[in-house]
């Protein structure tokens, strides 16, 4: 898949962010790399970054900053 061939832009720095209600250290500096770092399928998750939904095509340019709040969501079974 095309996104797996994209070179990593991890710059080696580790940031502390809030993901899905937990504080975590991540290497990714943008949303796209964060999805890869978490080994999630790019086409099945939805990302809310500091309470704003971010479109999939903007993920590579959405920079992650220290202390950001990120929700990674998906649709599940429900009635």
């Amino acid at each position: 898949m095309w996104y797996l061939e994209r070179p990593s832009v991890f710059n080696g720095e580790i940031m502390k962010i809030n993901i899905n209600g937990h504080v975590e250290n991540v290497k990714a500096s943008n949303l796209y790399d964060l999805v890869l770092e978490k080994e999630l399928q790019l086409d099945s998750v939805i990302i809310e970054h500091n309470l704003k939904i971010k479109r999939r095509d903007s993920w590579p340019t959405e920079k992650i900053m220290e202390n950001d709040t990120i929700e990674i969501l998906r649709f599940v079974g429900g009635g």
């Binding site: 399928q41 599940v76 079974g77 429900g78 009635g79």
Partner: protein
């Protein structure tokens, strides 16, 4: 032939709406949809479990089936609005089932918060289907607020106890101008048929199908029940009476 049920400008020929919760395998969802012919299905939004691999449920729902995201997990109108916006942004369309619950024992919907959320979301262009405890004054306020349909509960979610709120739902059917979709508590096809015979416009069934031993066959059974109930309603049921009314002539006996 009867024209379909119109919701948000879309016509639904099949009046059985289904849910995606509690299926043993997600593959059964597509098979159930095929067997039942259901054209509308609910989904929920949750945080990804970052520690486990999960499948994408949308892969199992064909394009011709309308998605009805619900706001389950919301405890206030504000939370429901947030979930609705995320679902729309994620490309799930404009339909939203408002489900606002704070009572965790009976999962009773909070009617007041549901009305607040309906106002906000209908104004914002959503096709709003609020899940409520059947109450006529509330239903009229929901209509005014722009609800596309009203979804009264038959009994508690997942309880399979059938249409325990029958009299209250009958009042809604009598007095509301928007479609009435009976949601929650329908445990068997006969319950669904009963709701349709009463004049409900559609029913939403999840647990009774997904938790059945054979969800695919059960989906088909519900589809027949809903069609039969609807047809009986249109054909107009005969009156009940306490005493017998002979079906054979009471004259010309051979005796």
């Amino acid at each position: 032939m009867e024209s379909g049920l119109i919701l948000g400008g879309k016509s639904f020929t099949n009046r059985l709406f289904t849910g995606t919760g509690k299926f043993r395998s997600k593959k059964l969802i597509s098979k159930m949809l095929e067997a039942s012919g259901s054209e509308m299905i609910t989904i929920a939004l949750r945080r990804v479990d970052l520690t486990s691999k999960e499948e994408n449920i949308l892969e199992y729902i064909p394009d011709n089936v309308t998605l009805l995201p619900n706001t389950s997990g919301a405890r206030t109108a504000g939370e429901a609005v947030r979930i609705a916006n995320i679902a729309r942004e994620a490309g799930c369309g404009n339909f939203i089932k408002i489900e606002i619950i704070t009572d965790m024992k009976y999962l009773m919907p909070d009617n007041e918060e549901t009305l607040n959320a309906t106002r906000l979301l209908a104004e914002d262009g959503f096709i709003v289907l609020p899940y409520i405890n059947p109450d006529l004054p509330l239903a009229k306020k929901l209509e005014e607020a722009g609800a596309a349909a009203i979804m009264p509960l038959g009994s508690a979610i997942g309880s399979n106890r059938g249409i325990r709120t029958r009299e209250l739902i009958e009042i809604l059917i009598d007095c509301c101008s928007v479609p009435i979709i009976v949601d929650a508590g329908i445990g068997k096809p006969s319950h669904a048929a009963a709701a349709m015979e009463m004049g409900a416009d559609a029913v939403l069934v999840n647990t009774a199908i997904s938790a059945a031993h054979d969800p695919v066959r059960m989906g088909e059974a519900f589809s027949y029940a809903v069609k039969a109930g609807r047809m009986a309603f249109l054909a107009k049921l005969t009156e009940e009476s306490k005493e017998a009314n002979a079906s054979s002539p009471l004259t010309g006996f051979l005796r």
